[in-house]
Amino acid sequence: MGELKALREAVIKGDIAAAAAETKSALDGGQKPQQILNDGLISAMDEVGERFAKGLIFVPQMLRSAKTMKECVDLLQPYFKEGDVTSKGTVLIGTVKGDLHDIGKNLVSMMLEGAGFKIVDLGVDVSPETFVQKTREVKPDIVGMSALLSTTMPSMPKTIEALQDAGLRDAIKIIIGGAPVTERYAVEIRADAYASDAGSAVTKAKELIGIS
């Protein structure tokens, strides 16, 4: 684990070139990819998350660290064997039908990815039918829905209903967010969680699948 210190530091600093070099040298040195992932990359991102929560760093720094981690994970990918657990879980995410805004949703995706989740991003204006179809295909642990407008918010309960009708609701956790969304609304429409920003989306996602 000692050798991974430089890798962790590079991820925390967001130095992509240095982190990639450290990843390669750890692989060359015979370290297991799983160990590089857990003790190097994910552990670094946990530290980044803590620093952010304390107000020591800002969002662009955190996103740069997430990007650095992603580059390193790509380097590890060929070394993983089938059956290796390489992510904390899969999140299917999209902006709901009628809504074309994606900045918030993209931010949440980046943060979840940085925290070790696998993301399947459906984009914007995603219909309930598409959510259902993709849930069937991808079998995610969590489905995330975003809306910026109060006028498009009703697409959220419609999507939940469609997932229910398709018999998929019990196999997934649903998390929602966006400017007009509230905790109360999440309860009303029977989502499993509400997150007020990208940082808390990560915390809530971890809680939903029982890791924290």
Binding site: G55, F58, V59, P60, L100, H101, I103, G104, L107, S150, T151, P154, A179, P180, T182, D197, A198
Partner: protein
């Protein structure tokens, strides 16, 4: 020596040189010509192609600078916004500035309980009535995304509520070509017919593209509708620095202006000479909390820069914001941020200034904030009007009288009696009372004084009601009968 009357210099803020303004403008043109934009409205796409734009990948458009120049030369340099009785109350031109409220907030601070709760139609009514009763609030917006209105018709209901509760001009939101047509029907009913309305428009539509460079179908439907019906419109994309736009203010402005110029070009093709209020909203995305800030000094700076670009290049009246805050309650932060944007918007002579009364980065509205802003606008105006230099104001004779006569006081002199109301800002809510009197009156802070004043205005101010025939027509339009 007899001092000659001298024109009064009125303090004014300038933040860009002509060279800087040109550099931003040229970058905007380059964005449109070299990068292009996504136009999702088929009609607008055809208009652009016919006018000489290149179209690729179905809806990706590149626009030559010539189209921008044509649009800038055909758009009117002055927009006359009237009140609902046909009086010209908001001539948007030159150095005129007008303050008002903002649009869709999800929450409001309850006037009675002080709690933050979801907004309702009654809130739209209260904000409109408050604006109607406050001297320095010139126009009303919904201030609410009412949870008790049917969601498909939410903007029609909000508009009807505004019309019933104020006679001042109204800035409104719509979703698409469908609801804006109904809103327009209501406006024509108030004016007594379409031709009356078009002679003296009293509404202005707020529509926005999505930064970066995306123009959705429903947004363009509204813009084209307004162009055809001569409804004044603004088209601020949210090119907020670090969010929809680059983190640097120059780049965010160049992008936002480029998006505005696309809107203007299509608008002028659809209705040559129709009124278009210029300007993007360029605030910042907060780098810690990822909210779009309503208290950021950067937004005040970019709109002052936009006013300079108006003066140097465009000549079109500009859209702006002021009197808002990121604070969750009406506290010292809210007062500081509100005043910062109010005075700088006035000093840079922004023309139509909205969003007054927002808390929590535009998520919550506050009646008390609007009441406070009414006073802050008066305070700012007393500063921006400058110092009048003429014989009466130099007061040589008064000085002579008081100096020479034993026991004389300026306070007792006729000159004071005749001039004090013009010479001084006389606050009503900003407290200058002596300590004991303040304590006896309940030791109220600014928030509580604004709360009491708001309740007084809402209880006492009578909005001149619309004729029954108009109210019936509104009901008919609302319920589709």
């Amino acid at each position: 020596m007899n001092p000659k009357d001298t024109p009064t210099f009125q303090p004014r803020l300038k933040v860009l040189s002509r060279e800087q303004a040109l550099a931003i403008h040229q970058t905007s043109l380059r964005i449109l010509e070299k990068i292009g934009f996504k136009m999702e409205h088929p009609g607008a796409l055809t208009m652009l192609a016919d006018a000489g734009c290149s179209v690729s990948d179905g809806d990706w458009v590149k626009m030559p600078p010539k189209l921008v120049e044509d649009a800038l030369s055909s758009a009117p340099k002055r927009i006359d916004l009237h009140d609902q009785r046909g009086n010209l109350t908001m001539p948007l031109a030159d150095g005129n500035y007008f303050y008002g409220t903002g649009s869709d907030t999800t929450f409001t601070v309850d006037l009675e309980t002080g709690e933050r709760r979801r907004t309702r139609l009654q809130d739209t009514a209260n904000f409109a009535r408050l604006v109607d009763g406050l001297e320095n609030m010139s126009f009303a917006m919904s201030m609410s995304n009412p949870e008790d209105a049917p969601v498909d018709d939410i903007y029609i209901y909000a508009f009807a509520e505004l019309i019933k509760n104020t006679n001042k001009p109204v800035v409104f939101i719509a979703d698409s070509g469908r609801d804006i047509a109904k809103i327009y029907q209501i406006a024509c009913a108030v004016a007594g017919g379409e031709s009356n309305f078009q002679k003296k428009p009293f509404i202005l539509n707020y529509s926005e593209a999505i930064s970066p460079l995306r123009f959705p179908q429903n947004v363009m439907e509204r813009l084209i509708f307004c162009a055809e019906k001569k409804i004044p419109v603004c088209f601020p994309s949210g090119s907020n620095a670090g969010g929809g736009a680059p983190v640097t203010l120059a780049g965010a402005m160049a992008l936002g202006i480029a998006e505005n110029l696309v809107g203007l070009a299509i608008h002028q093709m659809a209705g040559k000479g129709s009124p278009f209020l210029f300007g993007p909203n360029v605030s910042v995305l907060d780098m810690r909390h990822t909210i779009v800030s309503y208290g950021a000094p950067e937004w005040s700076l970019t709109q002052a820069a936009l006013a300079d670009m108006r003066d140097e290049l465009y000549g079109l009246p500009v859209w702006a914001f002021a009197g808002a805050s990121d604070s969750k309650v009406m506290d010292a932060q809210a007062g500081a941020e509100s005043m910062f944007s109010i005075i700088t918007a006035m000093l840079s002579r922004c023309n139509l200034i909205h969003d007054g009364g927002y808390l929590e980065y535009g998520n919550t509205s506050s009646l008390e904030m609007v009441t406070m802003n009414n006073e802050l606008v008066a305070m700012s105006r007393s500063f921006v009007q400058g110092i009048t230099i003429d014989e009466a104001n130099l007061a040589f004779d008064a000085i002579e009288r008081v100096a020479k006569e034993p026991g004389a006081l300026f306070l007792m002199d006729d000159h004071t009696f005749e001039h004090f109301m013009q010479a001084q800002f006389l606050p009503q809510l900003l407290d200058r009372s002596r300590y004991d009197a303040w304590q006896e009156a309940g030791a109220m802070d600014m928030y509580r004084r604004c709360n009491a004043e708001t309740k007084r205005v809402l209880a006492e101010h009578q909005v001149e009601p619309k004729p029954d025939s108009v109210l019936e027509e509104i009901d008919r339009i609302l319920h589709g009968r």
